[in-house]
Amino acid sequence: MHIIESGNAAAATGVKLARAQVIAAYPITPQTPLTEKLSEFVESKELDAEYILVESEHSAMAVCIAASTAGTRAFTATSANGLLYMSEQLHWAAGARLPIVMCVPNRGIGAPWTVWNDQQDTISQRDVGWIQIYANDHQQIIDSVIKAFRLAQTVSIPVMVCYDGYLLSHTYMPFDQPDQSKVDSFLPAFVPAHFLDPENPGNFNAITLPDVRPNSDGIAPGYIEIRSNLHEDLRAALDTYIDIDKEFEKEFGRGGNPLVEEYECDDADFVAVCIGSLSYQLRDVIDIMRNDGVKIGVMGVQMYRPFPDKVIVDALSGKKCAIVFEKALSYGNQGALYGDIKSALYNSDKRPFVHNYLLGLGGREIKTQQLLDALTESCTSPETIGDTPRWIGLKL
């Protein structure tokens, strides 16, 4: 059934349909309406979950880590500084291989304070060992949350479902709510191989030595093996997610582009690339430019970690220029996505020029005309790359 609700409500509804068992959250703009909605679901008994209103984001993730280790499906949500406050815990959750799902309505980071959208929060947490999925509209938010729980427990790696703060979290648009019974068959109950169990005691996350150590079954891995496993399994999660998405599409009729979403890219000479709702806003610009005879398309990167490098290289090899728009950067270097894309393209013998634009930080409005101007410039002189990254919309 279609409803018109906010992006945060879409996320909360996804969590409800996924039957999260333990939820912990601490309020932060623009995440708050999501946690409020979950409170409503729990108090009205629409969702049978333990809901812990913790005293910090660090504790929110602690609750999830412990609850997940104890064998329950755990969820939390945060934004911006809240995400950074739990950064230590993010590494922990990934290293402990816990299938926690977290929603992050993206927001800029202080100082100075901003409550508005950019993506510096999650992009800065790209190296914590979590899977990062970005949704571009409300339908993708609710679907991604459900798929995220399935993916997380399939590969035993936590998943962040990210979506632009305000632009998606607080806007209202129609989306379809999947049937509970269908979700139940798509997402089986979480039954971990090991959990905190008095009948089968074990000590989780104990100190691990630099080297391997003998145990009763042979040899127990050292830290480096455990971490290498995490990395390998993250890489394998790309294919796992494709399979999960296929299954989701079969059941619910939506999906098919889980890693990157391409628009008008097939015959394009130029491809704009970005993460999040901006990739949708760019579609209108692409239409205008196509009307003027420019062969251009746009690619939205939906899974950012693990990085879908093969898909991206396939999509961009042979193009004249890829133009990467970003609402976050690796300070002192360049846009994070830009760096990743260039690195992925290094081995391609048909690699395009790659440009980088930074824009929209702290919620600065992104005007269609600005995107049009930037793309026009890049398409006119794709070989000019010396001055990237370029900033859009700086006024002083």
Binding site: V22, A67, P201, F204
Partner: protein, 294 residues
């Protein structure tokens, strides 16, 4: 306390294997051994970084026969909350959820998460073993290091500030059970932990825990020195049940009697050697004033 446990009827069941990495003469080892005896099999431990992390063993060997989760330093109270939430969600009502942290993990970096858990009234037992400094990292001062104590970060004149009164801070949350105990009185500790397993809500037990290397004394004196802390009236054993304070056991028996001078305690440990007469007198006066109110 009713039905006090004695050495003779104390269970022989051990939940800790021999051969741990704990230091020779470790006070925590005694506290841990007694605590888990009292908790019994159906318990889940939540442990932040501390000497206990080492004591519980390096992967893949666990020294205790209880399920345990190691968590980040600041998150103990919240992680225990998460275990309890999971137990509720899974309808496993008979499990003791037990957070077990050092004094720094409790009163310094961990106080926010612990305070949150107390305020929410989470059904868990929180045991703080107080060895009065960061011992696992090599004896740095903590909030609970007493005034005047030499540590590696207060190496010459000693700590300038008073010991933070963690049990009082926790009691101020209005939780139903706060108790202090000592490694030197394992049966008293056992009974308090046992009692905590029978109560609902948040239970907090603060255990004074001598540390031979950190306090600079010979390993054989762990119990002696622990007892001296009580007998001098420096560290008091008490319970606060539903807001009602009462001294217990050895501390209760001290009321109205002459206590040993604090110097008897100070003289046993290298960590007090920078104390001058004036400081000792100040401490003695503080202890006397405190006891005048008991």
């Amino acid at each position: 306390m009713e039905n006090k446990t004695t050495i003779l009827n104390l269970t022989e069941d051990e939940f800790v294997h021999s051969g741990t990495r704990a230091c020779t003469g470790c006070g925590l080892s005694i506290v841990y051994r007694m605590g888990v005896k009292a908790l019994g099999k159906d318990s889940i431990l939540v442990v932040p970084p501390s000497c206990l992390t080492m004591l519980q063993g390096i992967y893949p060997v666990a020294s205790a026969k209880l399920p345990s989760i190691n968590v980040t330093f600041a998150s103990t109270g919240a992680a225990a909350t998460g275990v309890r939430a999971a137990m509720k969600a899974l309808k496993k009502d008979n499990v003791n959820v037990v957070a077990w942290a050092g004094d720094g993990g409790t009163g310094d970096i961990g106080i926010q998460a612990l305070s949150g858990a107390c305020e929410r009234g989470e059904d868990l037992i929180y045991i703080c073993y107080d060895n009065e400094a960061y011992m696992n990292t090599g004896v740095q001062r903590s909030g609970t290091t007493p005034k005047g104590v030499l540590t590696t970060t207060t190496p010459i004149v000693g700590k300038l500030q008073e010991k933070k009164d963690i049990p009082a801070i926790i009691a101020a949350h209005g939780i139903d059970y706060v108790a202090t105990a000592s490694a030197a009185y394992p049966l008293d500790l056992y009974d308090k932990v046992k009692k905590a397993t029978t109560l609902s809500g948040t239970k907090y037990i603060h255990v004074h825990t001598p540390c031979p290397p950190g306090w600079s004394f010979d390993t054989r004196y762990t119990i002696k020195i622990g007892k001296l802390a009580i007998k001098t009236g420096l560290f008091d054993l008490y319970e606060i049940e539903n807001g009602a304070f009462q001294l217990t056991g050895p501390s209760k028996r001290l009321v109205g009697k002459e206590r040993k001078p604090v110097t008897d305690y100070f003289n046993t440990q290298g960590r007090f050697k920078s104390l001058d007469e004036e400081m000792v007198k100040t401490v003695q006066d503080q202890v006397d004033a405190k006891w005048a109110n008991y």
